[in-house]
């Protein structure tokens, strides 16, 4: 492996502008965040044989495609982030980003081969497993680097990076659609060629990030920055190792915070289109517009709410996410009763903005409690909460609404029980958040 990738080669020289690191982080996150927009491939992949319509017995079904790509990818993302977190801290962001590009783009290449030979297991191996490892590496490397560069504004820094991941759908989905339209013929839906072109483009973009990324020199601090030391605040100046962090109750409380926040949000996000159609009778085109709007709120919320947490404190902002989220969830059935699409859209947009914000604020919360030394590794382990929520949330909404419809509940009211359950999940998250206290000093690294 060339030394250009070594951590030592990425240590910033004096005079380096830390503002070059956010675009590096966004470049990587925007590419791996493409998984959020993967749904544009669902229907074409189910018509790989029939082209204009799905051929029963030969073509794949949507649930199988989603399981092999989106769900598997998110599960492997969490696992790889947890497993490779310490390695990421050791080798630095450049080698990690390069490895991420090889895995993510290599995975797309293998998935393209899977589409070509029409073998879903190969698609799952490519996009779900190999690509999923790239996702995990690409997700955590820029975040831990940014946290170290912006000790004065960690919420804003992680918000910027994770906003990049949220924007993956904004860019990846229309990019995928444009490419499929370009490549489709009478004999092909154009997915395999699209995967290849996307792999090449993402490889260039991720490695652009790897090229410009730097880590701060040991002991570096922004000009005029004084670390807060006020007693009683949840911001530590000590350091906790990743292996020690998982022995603390704080780790599991934050795991619960993330899991509850994501479960509640992802349930709505995954079912946004049918929910809007069932509750208000809007057309699929209008519902599609609603999903697009949610993507924008999901992206912007990551930056705005997380930046606000630098002023309010992390614990306080999560209280807002959970309490406000709970109140807004309870308003969804009301919006349906009064037939107000505008109210429904406004409420869900704020909910989804806080769903994204939950992701963006968690690394800053970890940094506050555990310090910066192994924040990437700790972040990687806590991401397993996302994998759990990615399975729980959509299943809960789909199962409960189907159950209600099957038992004669009108379509428009079939989601009421679900949203109240989601509100309850947010209250569990609130309880976890309120229980968070500073980490016991016996867990601190001695040399800190």
């Amino acid at each position: 492996m060339p030394s250009f990738l070594d951590r030592e080669r990425t240590v910033a020289a004096p005079g380096f502008s830390r503002w070059l690191v956010p675009p590096a982080a966004i470049a990587v996150q925007m590419c791996v965040g493409e998984i959020y927009g993967f749904s544009v491939f669902n229907i074409p992949l189910t018509r790989a044989v029939g082209i204009t319509k799905s051929v029963p017995g030969q073509d794949w079904s949507v649930p199988h495609v989603v399981l092999a790509t989106y769900s598997l990818g998110l599960v492997i993302l969490g696992l790889s982030a947890a497993i490779f977190g310490k390695w990421v801290e050791r080798v630095g962001p450049r080698r990690t980003m390069f490895t991420s590009s090889c895995c993510f783009c290599g995975g797309l290449f293998v998935a393209s081969l899977g589409v070509h030979i029409h073998n879903l297991a190969v698609v799952a191996l490519g996009y779900g497993v190999i690509g999923g490892i790239g996702l995990g590496l690409g997700y955590i490397a820029p975040v831990s680097t940014l946290v170290k560069w912006f000790p004065d504004r960690p919420g804003m820094a992680t918000g910027l990076a994770i906003m990049g991941f949220g924007s993956g759908a904004l860019v990846g989905a229309p990019f995928g659609v444009e490419l499929m339209n370009h490549f489709k013929t009478a004999a092909s839906v154009g997915v395999e060629e699209t995967f290849l072109v996307m792999a090449a483009c993402y490889f260039v973009m991720i490695n652009f990030g790897a090229w410009i990324v730097r880590v701060p020199a040991p002991g570096w601090k922004p000009e005029g920055f004084v670390a807060p030391t006020r007693a009683g605040r949840l911001i530590t100046t000590a350091q906790v190792a990743a292996d020690e962090a998982i022995k603390t109750p704080q780790f599991y409380l934050l795991w619960g915070v993330l899991c509850c926040n994501v479960t509640a949000g992802i349930g709505i996000l995954a079912q946004a289109s049918p929910m809007c159609q069932d509750m208000f009778g809007v057309t699929p085109v209008v519902a599609g517009g609603f999903v697009g709007l949610l993507s924008i709120c999901n992206t912007l919320g990551r930056f705005l709410w997380s930046s606000a947490s630098d002023f309010t404190g992390r614990k306080a902002i999560y209280v807002v996410y959970f309490l406000l989220g709970c109140a807004l969830y309870c308003m969804i059935p009301f919006s349906q009763r009064v037939g107000s699409v505008a109210l429904f859209v406004a409420v869900t947009c704020v909910i989804i903005s806080m769903y994204g914000a939950g992701f963006a604020t968690i690394p800053a919360y970890l940094r506050d409690l555990f310090g910066t030394v192994q924040v990437g590794a700790i972040h990687g382990r806590i991401i397993t909460a996302w994998s759990m929520a990615a399975i729980l949330g959509p299943q809960l909404v789909t199962y409960l609404s189907s159950y209600q419809k099957a038992h004669g509940v009108p379509k428009g009211e079939a989601y009421n029980t679900t949203v109240y359950i989601m509100a309850g999940i947010l209250l569990v998250g609130l309880a976890c958040n309120l229980l968070v206290r500073p980490v016991d000093p016996r867990h601190h690294l001695r040399e800190a």
């Binding site: 020289a13 004096p14 503002w19 860019v171 229309p174 069932d278 208000f280 809007v282 697009g292 709007l293």
Partner: protein
């Protein structure tokens, strides 16, 4: 001490802002039907309110 030229920072942001801006434009364009259909009768509840 060699300082990073501000133009380099600007260029780096442009590299990511261009695809992002395009994606944002496409999403806003796609979400327009939501607002144009807002006042239409299609927005009535699917089921009668109890």
């Amino acid at each position: 001490m060699k300082k990073t030229p501000p133009i380099l920072v600007l260029l780096a942001f442009l590299v990511v802002a261009l695809p992002l801006g395009w994606g944002l434009y496409r999403s806003v364009k796609n979400s327009m039907p939501l607002f144009t259909a807002g006042a239409a009768p299609a927005a009535a509840p699917a089921a009668p309110a109890k």
